[in-house]
Amino acid sequence: MELSATELHAQLTSGKVTSVEVTRAFLDRIAAHDGAVHAFLRVDRDAALARAAEIDQRRAGGAKLGRLAGLPVAVKDVLCTQGEPTTCGSKILEHFRPPYDATVIERLKAADAVLIGRTNMDEFAMGGSTENSAYGATGNPWDVTRIPGGSSGGAAACIAASMAPLSIGTDTGGSIRQPAGLCGVTGLKPTYGRVSRYGLVAFASSLDQIGPLARTAEDAALLLEVIAGHDAKDSTSVDRPVPDYHASARQPLKGLTLGLVREHFGAGLESEVEQAVREAVRVYESLGAKVKEISLPHGKYAVAAYYVIAPSEASSNLARYDAAHYGYRTPEEPMIARLEKEHAALEKAGNEKALANHDNALVRMYRQSRAEGFGAEVKRRIMLGTYALSAGYYDAYYLKALKVRRLIRRDYDEAFQQVDLIVGPVTTSPAFKIGEKVDDPLAMYLVDLYTVSANLAGIGGIAFPCGFSASGLPIGLQLQGPAFEEERLLRGAAMFQQATDWHTRRPHLR
């Protein structure tokens, strides 16, 4: 269980272990520790073992197996799986069982992965702490009183806690990289269009991207290779070949020039994070990299632009949860009774105007179901987005944000004329306490400070551990690369991991 996915894969292939043994070990680990961590929303032990047994049998029979044959993979509960609950951490989708598989799920199945369970997340991927899940928060395996980051908190925590060797997360504003950084694992947000979004329940369509979480860059490369590539069902997925990421991951980058963003080292960055990042840069220099200071001048507007664009798209994407077609619906009898009571009271008071505006049953059903089915953060963003898109405000907010987005992309294009990769922190501080920021949404939004720009620009980024705080919490390092340079990101991360051992450290779970 302390092996990397790549090592496990080698043992499975050579017949040293069986998939049933591997899967059972992880399942036992989940059984022993997930009560404290709560990385998983659902684990179907029997189904996972049956699948593992089937793969073992096929292997024994000499069948040609897929790229991930027998390896357990945990999936964030935001990707549709046929016939199985897909809740997105929301009450409104509590009973939703999609009639189809997401493309990524299809590809995992085709690669003979063992889908070991569904991981916890902030409701509809909105949040940076996994405290917004309707099914309870996830704890950081390094200190379960702290947040694991979010929204892919469960996906990162299960890797950190050795409950799965590989997992799938999604990243809209940093939701893979930020929890990877806070949990001390490796997480990659691919370029927009690299992985099909078909079957990913949308939060902000123009920003969402699916990516791998793992212990090492090499493992992430293995998983990316399986899920990447064009999909006719997603017209925004790009039709270009998928490189052999895993084969190249261990080749160090020669003559590498790293960009250090001046604006990343301003106020707000905790000193021990800054120290760890600067130390990591020195490691790269020792490996032959040159470092250049660069500027991303529009980065300071990224969080603001993101919190206009993402909620705008979310307000539209979440309109389908109207309680009419599927999902949670408020109990109708008490609703109707209350509606009639209100109506009678208005009539008695002779309040014509209120009567004219009074809900009909359908409107009340929508309103009440949505009021009860969505959590506070989701409602906050729906309101933000609805406001930003409404007549009279569109130009001032949405359109302005799109312009900022273009400028951010241009900053990156110019930066990548000078450097191969940009290196910097993932977050301003290590993981904070559960509950610490729940009453301060703006402070919570700032956890995306270093990650959102990549989503706005559509480029890729990778996060991995580069040190620990005095209190023993992981500190992450982020590399960002030009569009479709996932290979460069993975090799950049792997060369660091070959020179250091931060990524091998595991929390002690009781």
Binding site: S235, A319, R320, H325, L389, Y394
Partner: protein, 492 residues
Amino acid sequence: MSDKHDYTVVIGLEVHVQLATASKLFCGCSTKFGAPPNTQTCPVCIGMPGTLPVMNRRAYELGLRTAIALNCQIAGYTKWDRKNYYYPDLPKGYQISQYDLPFSHDGWLEINDAKGAFEPKRIGIIRAHLEEDAGKSMHDEVAGRADSRIDLNRTGTPLLEIVSQPDMRSPAEAKAYLTELKLLLTYLGVSDCNMQEGSLRVDANVNLHVHLPEGKIATPIVEVKNMNSFRAVERALTYEAARQYDVWVETGNKIGDVPKQTRGWDDAANVTRGQRHKEESSDYRYFPEPDLVPVTVTEQEIEAARAGLGELPAALRDRLVKERGITAYDSDVLVNQGLPLVQYFTELADLVGDAKMASNWIQQDVLRTLSEKNLSIEAFSMRPDRLAGLLQKVRAGELDTSRAREVFVDMLDKGQSADEAMQARGITKVDESELVALCEELLAANPKIVADIKEGKLQAAGNLIGQAKKRNPNVNPGRFRELVLEVVARMA
């Protein structure tokens, strides 16, 4: 204000056309009409979480064809937008449409009236854009219940919305525009235009320009919906113009004084009725659809589409007049029946060698039969070669028009050829010598008529034709008349 003022009706039309694709705009589901509810749906078109739309290229091509035929400018780059609103039959909570960058704009369609009710004119087209249809709500209010059922078979069906300039000045012009547009769409093969099945739906924006001594004033614009036939459009607009005048006399409201009103046409009651104002109806929170990539089209693709349009109705009308020598009126009637009928006509005219005769027979006998039997020309059993057989007999003087009609009916009912039908009815060409004998006999028996004819009252011959036909129904009245006049002339 007791004086009656002059006013002009100002009409602009929004036409939604269902494009004749086999599958929906953003998924592979069938668009066939009439399937059991919710059987033609998939996760994509019912907006299941996680699903994504992928554009149907064929729908874009059909839209492009139409826009080019409407003389529109075609945008090289066009994007999709989301139009957000809640409605039970709109499963995603938004409709994918085109907002600020439609794929076409600024075209025109020429209308004219063969009977000269108005001068030929060009109606401007503001834009034509693509969008997906919503589902269908069925409200069942039987026995005090208010159940509503939703059929999502129609969701995602490709629509082309064609928005005209407010260039029409009478209900007749509006009807002519719709007729010409429908004809064009039919010729292009882009839609079946079946109004009963909702393939063609019309909304009208209408207001008045009232002419006062101090100048023209415009009344508030009203949008009229639910018109299910072109006749209903004409009646609704006629009603609405008169109603708006009365409202103006009563209130004096000008454009801008009150919000735009939506009214529905009640065909049975022959009135428009106000519909509840939609809350914030103007605020659809449009924004670019992030799930679809923009569509780009090259000049070459536009040129290829233009080259493939085929002959359009206006050009065809001119050509029939020029090449076939029929009147503009006849050409209009034939062309307005659609391309299959024009093909029938040209085939018939070629076989008979008389376009005018072919046109007359089609307009009178063929079209009457089609309308009585509710048939299309494609389903008409008498193909041009058989009908030509009959018309050739008429031309050869073997039977007169009224007998030919009887033969036509027999050919139709019994599936006979012209020869068979004539034989069955005992119609044979009367021998010339027999005809002469009959003529001389009748002249001898009717000296009064002979005298009349001698005095120049040639119509008196009609009486003799009647008598001759009674004796022998096969007598050709034209030939017999000639004979009578010849013989009388010789008697002088």
